[in-house]
């Protein structure tokens, strides 16, 4: 796949991301001022993320003939929901860093952070309320249905991953892994933003099924790259603690590949390592696990897998966006494909 100039996705992310960030701030301001809550609600959104999800939604809306303004509440809602998920994920994973700074539960304690995660989810849902006036009853109910389906997939995917860790499951294959990331990552990161953007942009006339394939391939490339960055990324740019996924025992594509490829001795060591609790695992052991992954080609496997997903995304986008004019918005969405596997943050 040919590589595109990174300036294009970054320009688009900056443009659409800032629109959504302003709408998020506005929504958070209107939610009032409450002690022990408001500063926590503002925390993660103010740390500045990539704005990937709302940008996909707004760009797709424009590509399908709509205006960014029509999709703005939906895009902001996605971003707020993403921040809600992050707060809870960080607690569940006992993560130390988020966007380069201590996680919310480390700053404020788990009870207040949990409550703030709930609060962000509520603000996200109330943000969708603006769609009734903006889009009319029928279209806004379709958008709400998309959010409802996405929410179910996301929580079921997160439950699956946590359950696998709890039961120390390693008898998993590529289908299990892809099913997992479809649920816990792809649907809310790429599939929902694409589908909602297309729904609004086309005023409900677009065929949304091809966007599932495009969103899945795009989201899979994103997730696998994210897992690789957790092992090899520069912490100052990536913003999470190094080898955090290995310390958590997260079932990444690399880990599942290693479990399948390792000889009996290394596999026994791996099972023993994963059997413990996070707090019992030492950085030296995580580093040893990382070396095993390198030795067995697990990282190369994942990189190659991600490249395949990106290529599949390119093909499926042609189908999903067939017949749409060649606009800057469409070009922006297309430029996200190479971005997903080349990004360093």
């Amino acid at each position: 796949m040919s590589s595109r100039c990174p300036a294009e996705p970054y320009r688009g992310l900056s443009h659409y991301g800032s629109l959504a960030a302003e709408e998020c701030r506005r929504q958070l301001r209107t939610s009032g001022d409450a002690s022990y809550l408001t500063p926590l609600l503002d925390d993660y959104p103010s740390r500045g993320g990539k704005g990937l999800r709302p940008s996909i939604c707004l760009g797709t809306c424009e590509a399908f003939g709509g205006t960014a303004a029509a999709a703005l509440p939906s895009a902001a809602s996605i971003e707020l929901l993403h921040n809600a998920f992050l707060v809870h994920d960080d607690i569940e994973d006992a993560s130390l860093l988020r966007r380069g700074r201590p996680t919310l539960h480390r700053c404020w304690g788990t009870p207040l952070a949990l409550n703030a995660g709930d609060g962000l989810a509520l603000v996200a849902m109330s943000t969708l309320g603006a769609n009734g006036e903006l889009l009319g009853a029928r279209l806004s109910s379709l958008v709400m249905r998309e959010f409802e389906f996405m929410s179910r997939q996301t929580v079921s995917g997160q439950a699956l991953e946590l359950g696998w860790r709890m039961d120390n499951r390693l008898d998993l294959d590529a289908d299990d892994y892809l099913d997992l990331i479809m649920r816990k990552t792809c649907w809310y990161t790429t599939v929902l933003p694409l589908r909602v953007g297309a729904l609004i942009g086309s005023w409900g006339t677009a065929d949304l099924d091809p966007l599932v394939a495009f969103g899945f391939h795009l989201g899979a490339a994103f997730q696998i790259r994210d897992d690789i960055l957790n092992l090899t990324g520069d912490v100052s740019r990536y913003g999470k603690e190094p080898l955090g996924d290995l310390l958590e025992g997260k079932r990444t594509l690399m880990l599942l590949h290693l479990a399948a490829a390792a000889d009996s001795s290394d596999r026994s060591w791996l099972e023993c390592y994963l059997d413990g609790e996070r707090q019992d695992r030492r950085l030296e052991e995580a580093t040893e696990l990382y070396e095993l992954m390198r030795r067995y080609g697990s990282i190369a496997f994942a990189e190659s897998f991600a490249s395949g997903m990106a290529e599949a995304a390119r093909i499926s986008m042609e189908h999903a966006f067939a017949g749409l004019p060649d606009t800057p918005a469409r070009e922006f969405v297309g430029s996200l494909i190479p971005y997903m596997i080349e990004r360093d943050a």
Binding site: L172, G204, V212, R295
Partner: protein
């Protein structure tokens, strides 16, 4: 998951240790594996999302009618776009109806003598540009013990605080006359103000009167603006 790496290789291939043939074989096999499993996952989820809430929300795509037959027009994109346009128009029309209804709400008064509201209501019409028209609905309820006859609504005209006026001829009523209003029945009146093309911007005030209802009157107002605010 199939093992596609070479564990005897000095390095997994990320930093130059693997030979080109091995790396190429790995890439091809991994991508074949990835794409075939991805296809299965996508198909599964397309089915899932299609089934989700299908009985609750009709998005106008492929669907079956009551007899279970697929409508022939389901995949016609021109038809679906037309359908969407019609739905937009319908929603706009319903919004307009709601506005009319909301305008009329304060006027839903019950009176003792078979006539209009008790006078505490006020008919405030939507903004209008010069040359345009604006309307609202008024109800007459007969809660008296006798039939009412020859109820003719009219207004002496509207004027602003500075004296600009809309003449009585620019205010019309539909129906112009309610010949008979039996006991416990109601009649709706549509009040329409046509702003003259040269009407000066401002809030025009007037009063709505009904012949044969000497005790009743209702304040009436409409704002003429250079540009109507979007709804």
């Amino acid at each position: 998951m199939s093992a596609t790496s070479d564990p005897n290789g000095a390095d997994g291939g990320t930093d130059g240790g693997a030979d080109l043939e091995w790396a190429t074989r790995l890439a091809v096999e991994v991508q074949r594996l990835g794409l075939s499993t991805a296809d299965a996952v996508v198909s599964r989820f397309v089915r899932l999302v299609g089934d989700f809430g299908a009985d609750r929300v009709d998005r106008g795509g492929s669907e079956t009618d009551g007899s279970g037959r697929v409508r022939m027009v389901a995949d016609d994109s021109a038809y679906r776009r037309l359908q969407a346009d019609l739905e937009r128009a319908l929603e706009g029309y319903l919004r307009l109806l709601r506005e009319l209804h909301e305008t009329a709400l304060p006027l839903l008064g019950r009176t003792d003598d078979g006539s209009a509201t008790d006078g505490s209501g006020r008919l405030e019409l939507p903004q209008v540009r010069p040359g345009g028209s604006s309307s609202g609905r008024v109800w007459l309820h007969n809660t008296s013990a006798a039939e009412a006859h020859a109820l003719r609504p009219w207004t002496p005209g509207l004027c602003t605080h500075s004296g600009a006026a809309i003449e009585p001829g620019h205010v019309t009523f539909d129906p112009p006359l309610v010949p008979t209003l039996p006991i416990d029945e109601s009649a709706a009146l549509l009040v329409m103000v046509s702003a003259p093309p040269d009407a000066a911007p401002g809030v025009y005030h007037g009063v709505l009167l009904v012949e044969n209802l000497p005790e009743q009157s209702m304040p009436l107002a409409v704002e003429v603006v250079a540009q109507v605010a979007p709804r």
